[in-house]
């Protein structure tokens, strides 16, 4: 049932009404992205990378075209189904981390497990195992505000991965990190793609990420070039 294709876009457009004009943020894009690989999405600022990721993750509806993520046609899902789809099929990593400040590292990672109905001791155990795998064992019970940028992004990555999603979306994942921490996160993303067979799609300006990507998709004015 699982094909080698994780994400398929057929003639996908997303337009915005802005300031009286029409912005073609994504404009007639067709793509197939593989599992077990990192796809780097590059292009100048405003070229539509983030919008494309949002469409793949079902965070925005398309204006036209078909988005199929992990074999599911997102156009057929209602809001509740899209939410459930994100929980079980998708991991998302943001440039600004977006951890929940009031929860500890382990609790942040536990959150998707709790939402998926996994009971407390089990959820805690699974979260801690992943936290340890990502090198955060010593930080499990601290609040995000005492973490370094690299640790925050690793926590966010753990939260994205804890339900073992086939597709991981990352928007400028190294954009807020120093060189060493950025390197670290790229290595982790690569491991997730190759060792765990996930489709990792990362929008990035980072040349190191570009260098380690299995595939590069370049965008300009909403189109793939």
């Amino acid at each position: 049932m699982t094909s080698a294709v994780a994400v398929r876009l057929a003639n996908v457009s997303r337009h915005f009404e802005a300031g009286g004009g029409l912005v073609r943020a994504v404009d007639g894009v067709s793509l197939s992205l593989p599992r077990g690989a990192i796809t780097a999405l590059i292009g100048p600022s405003g070229s539509g990378k983030t919008t494309l990721l949002s469409l793949v993750g079902g965070l925005l509806p398309v204006t036209a075209g078909v988005v199929e993520t992990d074999g599911i046609d997102l156009g057929t899902l209602d809001q509740a189904a899209l939410t459930a789809f994100r929980l079980h099929h998708l991991g998302i990593v943001f440039q600004a981390f977006h951890l929940i400040d009031a929860l500890t590292v382990a609790e942040n990672v536990e959150l998707p497990l709790t939402l998926a109905g996994v009971r407390r001791p089990d959820a805690r155990r699974r979260a801690l195992a992943l936290v340890e795998r990502l090198g955060l064992a010593a930080r499990a019970d601290v609040l995000p505000r005492v973490l370094s940028g690299g640790e925050k992004q690793r926590t966010a990555l753990a939260r994205a991965l804890v339900l073992d999603p086939p597709v991981v979306l990352a928007d400028e994942p190294t954009g807020s990190l120093d060189a060493a921490a950025g390197e670290d996160v790229i290595t982790l993303l690569q491991t997730e793609a190759t060792a765990h067979g996930r489709a990792v799609i990362a929008a990035s300006h980072d040349p190191r990420l570009l260098a380690r990507a299995d595939r590069v998709v370049a965008m300009s004015f909403g189109r793939v070039v």
């Binding site: 983030t50 990721l53 949002s54 993750g57 965070l59 925005l60 809001q79 509740a80 939410t83 459930a84 789809f85 994100r86 929980l87 079980h88 998708l90 998302i92 943001f94 440039q95 600004a96 977006h98 929940i100 400040d101 009031a102 959150l111 998707p112 939402l115 939260r159 994205a160 928007d171 400028e172 954009g175 807020s176």
Partner: protein, 360 residues
Amino acid sequence: MAFDRVRVTITVAGIGFAVLLMLFLAALYDGVRTEANGYVSSRPVEAWVAQEGTTNFIKSTSLLSAAEADVLAQVDGVREVSPLLRVITTARVGERQVTVILLGVDPRSATGRPEAAEGDMVPSAGEIVFDRALARQHGIHVGDTLVVQGRPFRVIGLSRGTNSVLTQFAVVTLEDAQLLLGMSDMASFFLVRGIEGLPPEALVARLAGQVPRTAAFTHADFSANNMRELRGGLLPILATVAVLGAVVGLAVLTLLLYGAVLEQREIYAVLKAIGAPQQVLVRLVLFQSLAAAGGGFLFGALGYAVSAPLVVRVVPAMALSLSADALVAVGLATCLLGGLGAVLPLRRVRRVHPAELFRA
């Protein structure tokens, strides 16, 4: 989740004051029920006779000829009939004018005698028994002298159950009340005691029609009618103020919870992005709303416990009596407030968009 302490305090205090207001109104309502109808409901009689058309004690002009008591006393099954004359007048206490309802009663009969708080309850000519709340309010003590329409009256006792909140009762002899009214042989009601074992309904049936243009009531009916009049006038006013208080509480809760949602929108966006179902978000907002309402209820209940005795000391006529039922009712109203307070914030949460999170 992230709670701002000042915000939580303001919310809880805002709801708390609304709860406090509701508790005061509920207590006033109950107080009126027990205190204001106290004198009428505690008469040791089986029946009342009033002028035709009069159904209650408080809101009526009942005029009878006192001599008709003798006619009624002859009725089979009647043990005792005593006239009661009600006169609204002004008593002068030093420089102060105090409006009271004077009750002229037969001093030899127990039927008109009020419940004692202090001193003697059986006036002779030139003596008066005063409501204790009104006495406290105007600094009147047993032994003081009041002037009513130029006549001096010595205060011989203070009574309870004679405070109908808006006006209070004072008891004098029937003759004194008739003198003040300027009409001898006048009465407002006859208080009737039946013989042992005769049901009040049977007594009323025998009294009916014995004197032209009068109506007889069982004590239970007359007391219930009076209660209905008291409540009917007061309840809509208290209920309106209570609802206004609740609306203000609701506005405070909604406003502050709405602010909290705006402040926590990142959290809601993250929850949506990682796949939290709608119920989880609803529960999160509802929990905050109900917690604030619960805190407000505790605040208001504590506030009532502390302030009610002080209020009664400052305004003695304020008949406050908070029943367990009223407390439960206000608690339920506060719960409802908590639920309603979540409505607008939840609509705002619905509009939080997870795609916002990509903007760094």
